[in-house]
Symmetry: C2
Subunit: 351 residues, 2 copies
Amino acid sequence: MPARMFHSKTDFKRALADLPAADAPSQDAARARQAELTKPPGSLGRLEDIAVHLAGWGAGSKIAPKISADKIKVVIFAGNHGVVAQGVSPYPADVTAQMVANFSAGGAAINALTAAFDLALDVVPLDLDKPTADMTEKPAMTETETLTALNAGAAAVEDDLDVLCLGEMGIGNTTAAAALAARSFSGSGTDWAGPGTGLDEKGVSRKAVVIDHALATHAAASKNAFETLRRVGGRETAAIAGAVLAARAKRIPVVLDGYVVAASVAPLYADNADITAHCIAGHMSAEPAHQALLQHLGLAAVLDLGMRLGEGSGAALAAQVVRAAAATHNNMATFAEAAVSNRSKEVGDEC
Amino acid sequence: MPARMFHSKTDFKRALADLPAADAPSQDAARARQAELTKPPGSLGRLEDIAVHLAGWGAGSKIAPKISADKIKVVIFAGNHGVVAQGVSPYPADVTAQMVANFSAGGAAINALTAAFDLALDVVPLDLDKPTADMTEKPAMTETETLTALNAGAAAVEDDLDVLCLGEMGIGNTTAAAALAARSFSGSGTDWAGPGTGLDEKGVSRKAVVIDHALATHAAASKNAFETLRRVGGRETAAIAGAVLAARAKRIPVVLDGYVVAASVAPLYADNADITAHCIAGHMSAEPAHQALLQHLGLAAVLDLGMRLGEGSGAALAAQVVRAAAATHNNMATFAEAAVSNRSKEVGDEC
């Protein structure tokens, strides 16, 4: 990857318009292998789908039909948001930097999860001392700031990853996420606002008003992906969009974490719906609008554990399902190898 | 554990009537710790519930409020069923022994999963050359055979496990499972029969008729747990019931696999609904009646991945969620330790 993937808005638009496709022959080979493994056809459910997904998108050296999910990294992007001045979070903005320090010290949930599951972890703080502008008043970022954030995301995607898990941290960023979703897929603040880190009903209503205010401020502007990411997103949401594009260019499958990460992909999807083809939705967040957002993105969540923490925590857990998919696909015996009788044609036909 | 936990039906009934309770002070300590960890309250969702569950049932040496999920074992019980003569499976009965050989050789899905996740695995074949009697004609097992199977299940539960995952293998055992569920919770063959390893619609209808035939054969008999396990169950389903009781006596939390394992607990539940207090439903199987069965048992599945393989595969995957629950509970920093600002009272109050 060059130092900067996106030198201009044009580079970004070109990358989004020109997405590589999955490796269809490798996926066909994976499907053929699944049919020969010692199990009833389809009985591993989602694991079989994920195995075929990995076969299509594997970046590393891959001897079809085997697949690799050894090198998995969680990357967390962190940013601060001018819109917190509107009282959209029960936590003070200082918590973003404090949690980044907690990540460095190894004390956060994502540290516990990556340590338990032997996943690599990178944390990328993005100008935390320089919050974005308040999106209710003007664009959250300049074009240069947006490009810098997109490039930071792209630069975090190593060439040799088998799977990239994307997460985020940023007090106020469920407000930005709701605005990104609304501008990408229509709807109002009420449709896309939720409790985030723990607002009560009154707090959610106020947050919806803030989002509507932001949407009105930018209503006349072009709704292309770049402008949406710039006007109502944050540095970390733009970085996630950049990472998703860079991973696609490198054919690396991506596991999305929760609501904010999915919302970061929404502006890309609005311009090119093929952008989610290499993505897996790690989990269904407890944030209420996440379900509608995944439906818009054409994604089905792997896990549904009522989590709403961010930090890539849901994606890190889903990575274990991805590993299970690869392990069964690669290491199970075939009916022939194990001398196990396959489905009885005679009985099967009459049953 | 003595060589035999159950010397008689009376021992079994006594064990089922006299179930130890969860350690409430340890659970309270775990809840208090969860509230202090660096995350919004409740934001780890099901992981927090599982952490409290483990605190209440941990068997090993446990310094509250920390919990242990290091020593996890998957135990698979295998049995053969006389009812396969009625054409209830698309696979021949020989496959049970062939799959046990596949487990030994390391070629099955559960081998791939336990190797990938560093879980211990025991496979317990139960007189595979001696199928149970055809339950449509008479009780599947004698009282002695039932006790032997219950004791085999209990004997497989080691004293020092942190978590026990239960699985099964047995061609024809979704038919036995449906009959166990129907006798425990009412309903007919149509309510509880499903495709199992892959019957088509006509096959499922015929299976339902076979189940109704079995239910009619035993309709007049007592519906207590022992008689239900004996008359319409199999060796592996009785062993699972014995293992669940033995684990409870040792205060070891249990992760149930899919439909057949849940159905093995159903007769126990019908006699004492407290039996599932130490149990976690690992996943929602694609077998259609599993959902109703878990509702009857008062359990909510951790995973829902469309799996229907058995072998403990869903439980082994769910064990990773259990490990995540323990890892976050034990290893996250508190707000005080990490110097992270907790929820702002001022903003929180007005939001």
